[in-house]
Symmetry: C2
Subunit: 304 residues, 2 copies
């Protein structure tokens, strides 16, 4: 049986990289050449197709550039959803592009709902069987992020896709300042996010791949290294998806001590500091992104 | 200034109804006439356009039927997202159809993310200004549901749209069995969901409309009447969006005592028990939905 965690482990070891490139396209971040190409259509009120095409060209350009130095990519659904149907089609094209390089795609959607709604979110991200003999193609992602607030019955419809080689990353301790408001609240003597981590451990126990990792991982931010280490203690076999690196302020030190197994057991996301590197470093956006990803790869403990 | 809460209050009082019709289309729930019409195309592997067209015809038919007895409708994004770009277009068409009847549309997406991502989710649901002089049309919804797990900085980008006449319903105590796992955990002597309710009160305090309600409301399930009443205590001025009625098991008694103000201050969602009423009652799906919505309207305390 194929496991998502094995694909991710292979991607990490083959490239000796734990870099996850976040694909968060914004109009403000588009390089001049793309602005010039698409502006006549973008300036038309409501030409969603033009913006979507621009985002697609940008994101596939970044993927081409980072394919050797990144372990995976993480498209952020929100930026595509803004542009309606063309945006959704562009997102699907971005997933396909990453697959051409055998880069696992973690779809950042932070979804979570119960029963048939949860199942529909799973199919939207991964594809799968639906009614009337009509399979759903979905976005074809390899893994998705999920929010735990609704409880375990909002996660099980997504975890069910692990049997089809898919993965789920559950939000535990996120990297934003507001994360403390709920996630750090003390419940039975421990922060809430560790209760979520225990839920992740329970959900993932039956989905361990050949490389020793579970297909159910956790999102735990680099901006709180202490929380990151506590999550690792609860989840010795999980891949951790670590945001907060780069533009959000955390450095390589935050990752010390959280490795697990032969393939690091974590990936570190950076979005703006890689995809918009051309704004800081100048030159071609692809070349700037490639250089930024390679620099990040070499800075992180796993590659050293 | 226009307030979402005033639109919803007007819809409630004009129809003397607190019924929110959840639009959760599934292939299994499509009536024979639509199955027959679309099956030749649906059976084609991956013909997303056919399923989306089928869902659109079904949902707009339901809206036509319940327009006099429902206070608002709540399309569930997941069911449309499954079918990619055509699904997204169908969802937009459903929103437009509801607006023809001046029915407020609460988009059930349970989103939540920070900074530019959160802003993008807001624009995807509501529309709004983006970069390069290119406004985003979005889905044109009047309100959206949001998940609080990431904290206040994941809600503020959505609440910002209240200034444009939009509303936000934050998940507090949901109606599913798993809700207790996190939401009921005791934090500083009170369940977590009441801390979320306090956050909702704080976020909504500056967005009170002429009818006395805030544009920032809360989702609180009818399956836990005690929780519903405690949420109301913390949120005397909020509209509550109450799921769990009908197919999920709660009856009218669960609503006793939670009214606030002249326009009830709550709406009660039912999805399957209304939109799939034809499966139970037979006959035309529109007529069955109309009858089910009218029955529910008359059963709820506000109309009695």
């Amino acid at each position: 049986m194929h496991h998502f965690s094995d694909s991710l482990a292979t991607a990490v070891t083959a490239r000796r990289s734990v870099v996850c490139v976040g694909l968060d396209p914004t109009l403000e971040g588009m390089p001049p050449e793309l602005v010039e190409k698409y502006r006549p259509r973008v300036a038309d009120l409501g030409d969603e197709g033009a913006v979507a095409a621009c985002f697609q060209e940008f994101c596939t350009g970044v993927i081409d550039a980072v394919a050797d130095s990144a372990a995976c990519v993480k498209p952020q659904s929100a930026f595509f959803e803004q542009y309606g149907a063309p945006g959704w089609s562009a997102l699907r094209a971005v997933v396909r592009c990453a697959h051409q390089y055998e880069l696992p795609v973690i779809l950042d959607v932070k979804r979570g709902d119960i029963a048939s709604t949860g199942a529909a979110y799973g199919r939207a991200a991964f594809g799968g069987a639906a009614g009337l003999g009509a399979p759903v193609a979905g976005l074809g992602a390899d893994a998705m992020t999920a929010s735990p607030y609704l409880g375990d019955d909002s996660l099980t419809p997504l975890v069910a896709h692990c049997a089809d080689g898919k993965g789920v990353f559950v939000l535990t301790r996120t990297s934003n300042p507001g994360a403390a408001l709920l996630q750090e609240r003390e419940v039975d003597g421990r922060p809430l996010y560790l209760h979520v981590a225990e839920l992740v451990a329970r959900l993932g126990a039956e989905h361990i791949g050949a490389a020793g990792y579970s297909d159910v991982g956790a999102v735990a931010g680099a901006t709180s290294p202490e929380a990151l280490r506590l999550v690792r203690e609860v989840l010795p076999h999980a891949f951790l998806l670590v945001p907060g690196f780069g533009a959000q302020g955390a450095g390589p030190d935050a990752l010390e001590g959280i490795a697990a197994g032969d393939a690091a057991g974590y990936v570190v996301n950076a979005s703006r500091s890689i995809i918009f590197a051309w704004q800081r470093d100048g030159g071609d956006f692809r070349r700037a992104a490639a250089a930024a990803a390679e620099t990040m790869r070499s800075q992180l403990p796993y590659a050293r």
